[in-house]
Amino acid sequence: MKNVKKIVAMAMAAALCVVSLTACGGSSDASATFVIGGSGPLTGPAAVYGIAVKNGAQIAVDEINAAGGVNGMTLELNFQDDEHDAEKAVNAYNTVKDAGAKVFLGTVTSTPCEAVVEKTKVDNMFQLTPSGSSVKAVQYENAFRICFSDPGQGTAAAQYIGQDLGLKKVAIIWDNSDVYSNGIYEKFKAEAANAGLEIVSEQSFQGADNKDFNTQLIAVNEAAPDIVFLPIYYQAAALILQQANQAGFDLKFFGCDGLDGIIGQLEGDAALAEGVMLLTPFVADDPDEKVQSFVKTYQEKFNEVPNQFAADAYDGVYVIKAALEDAGVKDASVAVSELCDLLKASMVKITVEGVTGTMTWTADGECAKTPMGMVIKDGNYTAIAD
């Protein structure tokens, strides 16, 4: 008995030594650890987006560090919860700034992003939002984004429906309490005439709390459109598909990147999503090698299929890496403002091949990449054949 205790004690002492040794080896000076700050909703109704961004960014950070870091620097992600709230996002930004963040990856949602960009502009900190798609989210020179802008999606969707699909009569159901949905809707409407589209019915609803779409669907069905445009998120779209089915309406639907995730949302009723078309930069079933490796790692770590927010964030970290390499930043103790000026100059020069496509940037912060037309077929996203 006594021996056992002795062995245990020795083993513990040994373990302690190992721990203290690794602790020594692991500690590094400030010039070698480059902190990427970020914020997004990790709790609350929009948490699914924030968590996806945090996970996606973490995978990229881990991969980059495992491959030797950026110019000898090790990346570190400091991601705070902003609950999709403008005020809390500003607090989160201040927290990561105090913790030594050099660039800001965020925010995830548009409304807080518009608040934080005012702060990063004053500090001249480089800001890259993975998914803040409203126009004002990147209105200053220091801010760039990975996703499409809302107006960009509206225009692209109108052209795609009118020219590529060759359809005429369109009905729209949009969420008039949401910046994302409004942004796409307005631009779509403006572009519709140019694309040869006739808008036969416009129906709106208010917010994610709304669950009853029967009235809107009856009106849309009465107008007999060729296609129904849904510039909304997948939760509401899933309910629209289910209620259209219950009412026995035979309607075709077309959406933007917000519809990504609809198959998972419908779970047992996934057959309802059959034939739904969408324009999106990222699909988890893309056979591309980079995409598949990302999806596989994500599934192993977090036990779910990544959505486009995770993909945007994953690309975001690689974009920061590419910009740092282009600017030749080797010392993580560089001043925030000086770094921002370097990265701004590099952003318009670099081309990044990410999981959401091949991206380049203009000085106004917009990302140029081609949206892919997808149709849901046999429960999978497949490219629309021309």
Partner: protein, 290 residues
């Protein structure tokens, strides 16, 4: 067209009515606004979801399990959060109810995560076609269940001895106690029934709008509260009438006036109602004794 709009309004209204029944009953007897009622509905939906989807049990078992769980939850909430405040001001109780509401939402967020889930219907009723109009099965089910519950509740309160005790407590707590009515037990029973009803409402709501998340109960809870006030809070047939009225007004204003203004119109009608008849459609006028 009009008939379709009307029907979808009635089916939405029937859900409001079912939730409003729970609100109005607790208010009528315990004289408190249980703002956590909407969230008990969410819990009811989640329990049914867990039993039927995660554990793979039969729909009826899920229904029963959910009712039992919510009944116990209702009693527990009453014991822990509201009973210690029996003598406190109405405002403290109201704030506590809001606290309980947030507690339930956040516990659900912790356990079930923030992503909303697709809710598979537990009970399937076939649609009925009358001429060119199709009445969805869910609508028939929801209206049927609401009417049955309304009748049973009215009979229970007016005919049974426990119901008489409830009426006595609602009229005068102190006097009821002096007459030998166990006030605490009666209020617990009220909460038990109210929460059991919430479970039924939750399941029917999720059957009609097949989606459940931690915030599912919030907005319907508020709309149902309005329905209860509209119909006359404290009155059981009033809750039914108020619920259907709010649902129909909401849908018709969406259809014929503006989808963007429908909520504004609904609330404006509520304000007018309160100005013209503050006790609601079927509310009793109570003279405050000085």
């Amino acid at each position: 067209m009009f008939i379709s709009y009307l029907l979808s309004g009635i089916s939405l209204g029937a859900i409001y009515a079912l939730i409003a029944l729970g609100y109005t009953m607790v208010y009528g007897i315990a004289k408190m606004l249980n703002f956590a009622h909407g969230d008990v509905i969410m819990v009811g939906g989640y329990i049914a979801f867990t039993i039927s989807v995660t554990l793979g049990a039969d729909g009826w078992i899920a229904l029963l399990g959910s009712i039992i769980f919510c009944t116990l939850l209702g009693i527990t909430i009453e014991r822990v959060a509201y009973k210690p405040l029996r003598g406190a001001s109405k405002l403290s109780v109201l704030i506590t109810a809001i606290g309980v509401s947030y507690l339930l939402q956040n516990v659900a967020l912790l356990i079930f995560g923030s992503a909303s889930r697709n809710f598979q219907a537990l009970i399937v009723v076939p649609s009925v076609e009358i001429g060119s109009v199709t009445i969805p099965g869910n609508t028939i089910l929801t209206i049927g269940v609401s009417v049955v519950i309304m009748i049973v509740l009215t009979l229970f309160i007016n005919k049974s001895s426990a119901g008489s005790a409830m009426l006595a407590v609602s009229e005068d707590k102190g006097a009821a106690q002096l007459m030998g009515v166990n006030v605490n037990k009666t209020i617990s029973l009220t909460f038990a029934i109210g929460s059991g009803l919430a479970a039924v409402a939750g399941i029917l709501m999720c059957t009609q709008y097949p989606n459940i998340g931690p915030y599912t109960g919030q907005m319907p809870g508020i709309k149902a509260f309005i329905a209860a006030v509209f119909g006359g809070i404290g009155s059981i047939p009033g809750a039914m009438l108020g619920g259907i009225a709010i649902g129909v007004i909401e849908n018709l204003s969406k259809a014929y006036i503006s989808t963007q203004l429908s909520d504004a119109i609904t609330f404006a009608i509520l304000i007018i109602m309160l100005l013209v008849k503050p006790t609601g459609i079927l509310g009793k006028k109570l003279n405050e004794k000085v």
